[in-house]
Amino acid sequence: MVRRLTMRRITSVLAVLGLPLVGACDNELVNPPTPVDPLFARYVSIGNSITAGFQAGGINDALQLDAYPVLLAQMMDTPFNVPLLRFPGCPAPYTNIFTNTRIGGTGPTFCAARTLPIPTFINNVAVPGAESIDPTNNLDASSSANALTTLLLGGRTQLEAAAAAKPTFVSVWIGNNDVLGSALSGTDQGVTPTATFAANFDAMMTALDGMGVQGGILLGVVKVTNTPNLSPGVAYFGAKAQGALPPTFTVDNSCAPAVLGGVGESTLVPFAYGFGVLLAQASQGVSVTLNCATDPPVLSGAEITNIVTAIAGYNQTVQAAATARGWAFWDPNVVLDSVKAAGDIPLFPNPAAPTAPFGQWFSSDGVHPSSQAHQVVAQRAWDAIVAEYGITP
């Protein structure tokens, strides 16, 4: 029996009830990284203090965000988490290296904790002080693990932390500390043998290969003898001649140029010795003498040669690893040499400019690149990446 309700009325009622159904399929989407090239979907940087953002004898969140990997990630347009350290830092950077003054009046052992929130993944896994063994081994006797190793990575190695981020692309700049510590101590003792460096580096690269990394850039080890923390003995000789050193600070003729019978041009005086020890004592009225030929903390010509030779050996390994994988390679020494040749790296610290005593390219510890230099590093590294992978930025 057909009832009196018409199908038209029924349809109308159901249509009204069904109105809310419009737009019922409102699917949301995965929000993956959208870098300039899929190769950069997950970028991780491995390295030491430079890569971590260490400057002026300290590190904090502001400096970490000035580091070249952060800038590279911006060029890649890829997410990049940094284990940020709270202001003033860990330790806080120098405000004046000559007076040993740091931000906030803190000491060299002061350490602020990390900022919140703790990132889910860490992309910059570099740890200040790391040598070639450290990316794969924090526990070996030759490891340079320190407080920042735990503070930044929680005790994991750099590669363990990197693996958590499943990197598609990595940058590696490791090896500077395999020679730096010795150089700043005025000796070639303790320099990592090239064979050991090669073994460490190859182990790291093999581990990265196993991680499924699709590409990367390897940066060459810096010729640390070019850093302004190491001043030629002749610079002290000249400073003394110009009256820039107190009367109690004697500079031996061994620091004179070769034409005057000295070895001043072929020796390097670490800041920690020339200023930290000798000038500090002289300023207090103690008579001191810098002897470029016999003072153990002064790098002799032979020691410099050994260090430079080791670096060259390291870089053969680094470049070969890049070539073998079809990765990009960038040698920072090309730029460093040219900057030094242009006279843009001061041969002698400038106490009159405590915020930039080592010029525009180095921070006020005379070892670590300035923020301005990080920009150059990032751009040159990016250029090398673009050239190697044919990427259209």
Binding site: R3, A113, T120, G155
Partner: protein, 457 residues
């Protein structure tokens, strides 16, 4: 070591999802859950609209089960890793009995589970700190009386005795714990470098025997031939859970290097450091302990209309409102670990259901339907416990008259939940949940299979 109650925060999200179950009768399931304006004859009116029981003669009993197989996944934005749910088929039973005392007065009884969930993720899932193996059940036992006031109007009411249980398994994150002195107060171990999501303990939270009461009220009006209108209101029910929390250590696998903030030699296992803290000792913060929580099963309101243009065909439609905003926050009180207030911000939901029923012949009845239901969880609180969202559902069913006394119904329902962004981490202590924490996409779908046998005497 001061371990905060934040580690125990996740259980709160368990109760703050839209974990409503509406499939408590296979006949109704086949027509997309529309029963308020015209209940089925299997006694399920006890749940769907108690007024619908009025006028039933003799004795009717039915028993059935709805098998729910939910499946889904979470796809991480950054890694693109997709982790799938590992749910098994969950049976949800129902039972009804009615007895016509007089032509006007009918008594009934129903057993059903209108709120429940089960989500099981791999223990390696990044959301394991919210919960990886969770189960919640609220069983309702409802004696009912219904009365036919007039040929056109019936009313009904039921008293619900509610019995609830809940179980949650989750991992605890060492990075979220407070660091010991000399670290400044409030400093977490994550701020000292412990990696995010470092498992160091597993907690099993289990509570059963929670009880509550509720009322279920119905009104059924037949304004004209072939038209009926129904109204039904199920009140909220507050369940007070008193349970046990069992904590077990989980190895972090971390070996500390030199210079670590714990001052132990290089090569020392972090697990040794944790063991030395005595966190799991009797009376300590992570000792096995009791915990209290209250969960309110929300109110439900349904209004529907059924139209039968012929004796054989009925069109049905219904609107349902669920008072999920009751889950604005949740307080958890643990014997040793303190109190945690969890912000949930759930919102009331609307559901729209449409069904059709066709009596093909005296033996067979064919049913079909579609429904859409809004999600209760706001964008900032979509978590692994129940990655809930708005749903489109499609149903089909068949009723078979086996003989003069026996009737069987079978039904199938497909739930397609809209893909929804969500999170796998809790907000830092003292901060509100935010969509900024959402880091991936949840997919959630389910197949439901219903079978009910009905006997009339």
């Amino acid at each position: 070591m001061a371990v905060t109650a934040a580690i125990l925060a996740a259980p709160g999200t368990l109760v703050a999802q839209g974990f409503q179950v509406n499939e408590h009768g296979t006949c109704v399931m086949g027509r997309a859950g529309v029963a308020t304006p015209k209940p089925c004859g299997d006694g399920s009116a006890v749940f769907y609209n108690p007024a619908g029981v009025a006028g039933m003669t003799g004795i009717t009993t039915s028993i059935g089960v709805t098998g729910i197989y939910a499946y889904g996944s979470f796809t991480d934005d950054y890694t693109s890793d997709e982790t799938g749910l590992e749910n098994s088929l969950v049976p949800v039973p129902h039972f009804y009995a009615t007895y016509g005392i007089t032509p006007q007065l009918t008594a009934g009884f129903g057993f059903f589970v209108p709120y429940g969930l089960g989500t099981k993720w791999p223990v390696t899932f990044e959301g394991r700190f919210n919960g990886y193996d969770n189960d919640l059940r609220s069983m309702y036992f409802q004696p009912t009386l219904a009365y036919k006031l007039h040929d056109l109007v019936s009313v009904g009411a039921g008293f619900d005795f509610v019995l609830g249980s809940v179980e949650l398994n989750q991992r605890l994150d060492f990075s979220e714990q407070l660091a010991p002195p000399p670290a400044p107060a409030g400093t977490t171990l994550g701020q000292l470098g412990i990696p995010f999501h470092t498992d160091f303990a597993n907690v099993n939270l289990k509570a059963s025997g929670a009880t509550g009461i509720a009322g279920n009220f119905g009104l059924l009006i037949t304004p004209g031939e072939g038209v009926s209108i129904g109204f039904r209101y199920l009140t909220r029910s507050k369940l007070d859970y008193q349970g046990d929390a069992v904590f077990d250590p989980v190895e972090t696998g971390i070996v500390l290097p030199a210079g670590n903030p714990f001052g132990v030699p290089a090569g020392t296992s972090l697990d040794l450091v944790i063991a030395g803290l005595g966190l799991f000792d009797d009376g300590a913060l992570l000792a096995d302990q009791g915990g209290d929580a209250s969960i309110t099963m929300p109110d439900q309101v349904s209004v529907g209309v059924a139209v039968s243009p012929t004796d054989a065909v009925t069109f049905l439609a219904e609107w349902q409102w669920v008072h999920w905003s009751l889950f604005n926050e949740l307080e958890l009180v643990f014997d040793n670990a303190g109190t945690k207030l969890i912000e949930e911000n759930y919102q009331d939901t609307n559901g729209f259901r449409m069904g059709v029923e066709w009596i093909a012949d005296p033996r067979f009845t064919v049913r079909g339907g579609y429904l859409y239901h809004e999600g209760a969880a706001p964008p900032e609180t979509v978590t692994p416990l129940l990655p809930e969202g708005s749903r489109n559902e499609f149903t089909g069913g068949l009723g078979v008259r086996l003989n003069d006394r026996l009737h069987a119904d079978v039904a199938y329902q497909y739930i397609h939940q809209n893909k929804r962004r969500g999170r796998v981490r809790e907000p830092d202590a003292g901060t509100a949940p935010s969509v900024e924490l959402n880091s991936g996409l949840y997919k959630f779908n389910a197949h439901l299979f219903g079978l009910t046998l009905t006997a009339t005497f």
